[in-house]
């Protein structure tokens, strides 16, 4: 895709995404019926749950791009991984902020070690680790490789973490929370609202991803332009 096409795609996806988000808000606040057990605060679900799915989808994308990057060495794959990671981290943060907001009302506490929230916190830290290692090396290519390794190890570990945390939780069941965690008891309009939420966030994610990818491309071009046959600072003979 050339630059013009990418900019066009970013614009269209962004506009569509924002529009869908507005539609989503309309549905959430005015259309969808209130859920019986939890009341009005349950509506945050329609933001919270899609943010979740995108956060994990993004990380899956990070891991996939990282694996292929290590295999093929094409820096465009690394650029895609970073773009997915940055956008993914945004959605993880949204998930982490909306979770406790709901929790305060639903459970009475700001924080609960319920599996999804716990996993969100861990995922946030794995994303953090991804960015920290990238910047921590003298040689930028090495940093990219390190980040790719973090991405791959992360994606291998996340299912294990999820299973372990869920299992631990199941040892001490708390009825209210268990039912609150399960969004599967949805009637038609709730299902539709969640789907719209998912669509909205996917569009916004795609737009952010492409934008970051494009910016990464400009950064790369600048790096190449600065490249000159030259001496290296530091310990070199």
């Amino acid at each position: 895709m050339n630059q013009k096409q990418i900019r066009w795609a970013i614009g269209v996806l962004g506009a569509l995404g924002v529009a869908t988000v507005l539609v989503l808000h309309g549905m959430v606040f005015f259309w969808v019926p209130t859920e019986s057990t939890m009341g009005i605060v349950q509506r945050i679900f329609y933001i919270h749950v899609p943010a979740w799915w995108i956060a994990f989808l993004a990380f899956g994308l990070v891991a996939l791009c990282s694996a292929v990057y290590l295999w093929l060495g094409d820096e465009r794959l690394d650029r895609a991984a970073v773009a997915a990671a940055e956008a993914g981290m945004i959605f993880t943060t949204i998930g982490l902020l909306t979770g406790p907001l709901w929790g305060r009302v639903a459970w009475g506490t700001w924080w609960e070690w319920e599996p999804r929230l716990t996993l969100a916190l861990i995922l946030w830290f794995i994303y953090l680790g991804y960015f920290l290692v990238r910047r921590s090396t003298v040689n930028p290519e090495q940093g990219k490789r390190f980040a790719a390794v973090v991405g791959i190890i992360g994606v291998l570990d996340i299912p294990l973490i999820h299973v372990s945390v869920t299992w631990l939780r199941s040892l001490h069941p708390q009825a209210v929370i268990l039912s609150a965690e399960n969004p599967m008891n949805l009637d038609g309009s709730m299902g539709a609202t969640i789907s719209v939420g998912l669509l909205a966030f996917t569009l916004v994610f795609a737009s952010l991803f492409l934008a970051r990818y494009a910016v990464g491309g400009y950064e790369h071009e600048l790096d190449l332009r600065d490249a000159s046959p030259g001496s290296i600072q530091g310990a070199e003979a």
Partner: protein, 237 residues
């Protein structure tokens, strides 16, 4: 007959920096190439690529006619490296270091090989000394013993004379001279003009990642070379 050591268009970039910018040369078995150059010219980077320690961004290294890339391990017993660092474990004795490296190179006759090698560098009576207790000169001799333990055909030396007093330099030079037996192909990077010229068959000046000239050493004397060197550096400045 194949070349002892060949470099074909070696390039190495670090992010935007071109440390080695297209170096090619061919050495017949038994030839010694001395590489001079100002600090930061990329000489260490070049040697690291020749030794298979660093992956070239593009280009190829060939040892005894066969490709010698970073991923493969089967050509490595043909090459030995000496650096200005000792590459030895200070807490272990010379003998223990040699035993470790001998095992890494898959050598099975260490009981005879190590004493022979120690004798050839004159370190037999210091073999039980921890390396960190050795003087700089003795450390370099131990480093050379390590490099030659597996009897490589190619030897790469990165500023081995660094920090050696005149006596130690002389001893080291003797060791190098004994390698001029028609079997060993050597690349020597040094700032020491006298030692560097004395044993060389060919001389290269590396500036900003390229060989600005490669000359037959036979035709050069010290003052002639100094003029050539200063001209080359001034040219690129």
């Amino acid at each position: 007959m194949s070349f002892g050591l060949e470099a074909v268009g070696l390039v190495r970039t670090f992010g935007g920096l071109r440390a080695v910018n297209g170096v090619s040369f061919q050495l017949h078995p038994g030839e010694l190439l001395t590489v001079f150059g100002p600090n930061g010219a990329g000489k260490t980077t070049l040697l690291r690529m020749l030794g298979g320690v660093m992956r070239p961004t593009s280009g190829q290294v060939r040892v005894a006619g066969a490709p010698a890339d970073v991923a493969s391990r089967d050509w490595r017993h043909r090459v030995g490296i000496v650096s200005h660092q000792s590459l030895l474990y200070g807490q272990l004795t010379i003998e223990e270091n040699l035993r470790f490296y001998g095992r890494l190179f898959g050598l099975t006759d260490l009981k005879t090989r190590i004493p022979e090698r120690l004798a050839s560098v004159g370190l037999t009576d210091r073999r039980r000394t921890p390396v960190r207790d050795l003087s700089r000169g003795l450390k370099q001799r131990a480093a050379l013993a390590r490099a030659l333990l597996h009897d490589p055909e190619v030897l790469l030396l990165d500023e081995p004379y660094t920090g050696l007093d005149p006596h130690a330099s002389g001893v080291f030079r003797e060791q190098l001279a004994s390698l001029k037996d028609g079997r060993h192909t050597v690349v020597l990077v040094t700032h020491n003009l006298i030692q560097g010229l004395e044993l060389a068959d060919r001389v290269a000046i590396q500036i900003q990642g390229c060989f600005s000239s490669v000359t037959d050493a036979g035709s050069l004397d010290l003052s002639g070379f100094q003029a050539l060197y200063h001209a080359a550096v001034a040219d690129r400045a």
